[in-house]
Subunit: 141 residues, 2 copies
C-alpha cells in the first residue's frame, strides 16, 4: 500500500503515479501523489474549482464510488521545469472500460512542486478540448 512517504524522484514519476492511481480507482495511491496542503487545487473537466487536500480527496472518492473504470493515454505537449516547480501541459485521451468510444480529449495543466519527499502534484486543471475547434496552428500553416 502506498503511503505519504512514497518518494517521487521526478515530476514524470509523480504524474505517472497519478494517472495509474485513477485507472486503478485507488484513492490512497492517488492522494499520495498530491501535496498534503491547503493550497492544492483541482478542476475537473466541466467542474468547479476544488481546493484543499481533504476536499480534493472527497471529490475523487465520489468519482471512484461511481464505479466507472477509466483508461488514459497521456500526450505531454510541453513541460517547463525549474528547481522547485514543474509545469506540464498534456492532452488526456480517455476511454471507459467496456465502451469503444474515446471521450472528448481533455487538456490538462499539471503542476508539481519539489519538497523534502520529492515531487508532488499541487494543481490539476482539466477541461474538454473541443474536437470541432480548428487549432490556430492549422489556420496559420
Amino acid at each position: 500500500m502506498p503511503s505519504q512517504k512514497t518518494f517521487f524522484a521526478t515530476p514524470q514519476d509523480a504524474e505517472a503515479a497519478f494517472y495509474e492511481a485513477i485507472e486503478r480507482a485507488d484513492l490512497d495511491a492517488l492522494m499520495t501523489v498530491w501535496c498534503d496542503e491547503e493550497e492544492v487545487v483541482y478542476v475537473a473537466p466541466g467542474g468547479p474549482r476544488i481546493s484543499g487536500y481533504a476536499n480534493v480527496r472527497e471529490s475523487w472518492r465520489a468519482v471512484f464510488e461511481g464505479g466507472a473504470r477509466l483508461h488514459f493515454r497521456i500526450h505531454t505537449l510541453s513541460a517547463l521545469v525549474n528547481p522547485f516547480t514543474a509545469i506540464h501541459s498534456v492532452v488526456e485521451k480517455i476511454t471507459v472500460e467496456g465502451q469503444d468510444d474515446i471521450l472528448t480529449p481533455i487538456v490538462a495543466t499539471n503542476i508539481f512542486l519539489k519538497g523534502a519527499l520529492g515531487w508532488r502534484l499541487v494543481l490539476h486543471h482539466a477541461s474538454p478540448s473541443p474536437p470541432e475547434s480548428t487549432p490556430v496552428t492549422q489556420i496559420l500553416h
Copy 2:
C-alpha cells in the same frame, strides 16, 4: 505604447496588466505580458489548447476583432510563489459592455515566470465554472 521592455516587478503587476489589456482590447499591451517563447500555453474557456507566442497572439487578435468589450472582476483564490515561478488560481467574473448579465464564472490558472525582464505570463488555462455545481466544501460543512 507598451513594449517588450516593460518591466513587471511582481506577478500581480503582470496579471493586472493582462486583464487591463483585455479590457482595452489592446493586443500589443496584452502580448507584452506573455513570455516571448514557444512554450507559452493558452486555453480559453471551452476552447482548444493553443501554444506558441505567434499562435497566442493570432488567437487574441481574432477575439478583439470580434468587437466585444469585456470587463473583469478577478478574485485571487490562491497563489503559490517561489523565486522563479508564481501560480495563481483565480475566478474571473466577466461582464460584456452593454449587457447586464454576468457570464458564467471562469476559473483560471495563471502561471508567471521570472526572467531578466521581470515576471511574464507563460500559461493561462481558463474554463467555465458551472454555477449549478455545489462546491465540495458546501457538502462537507
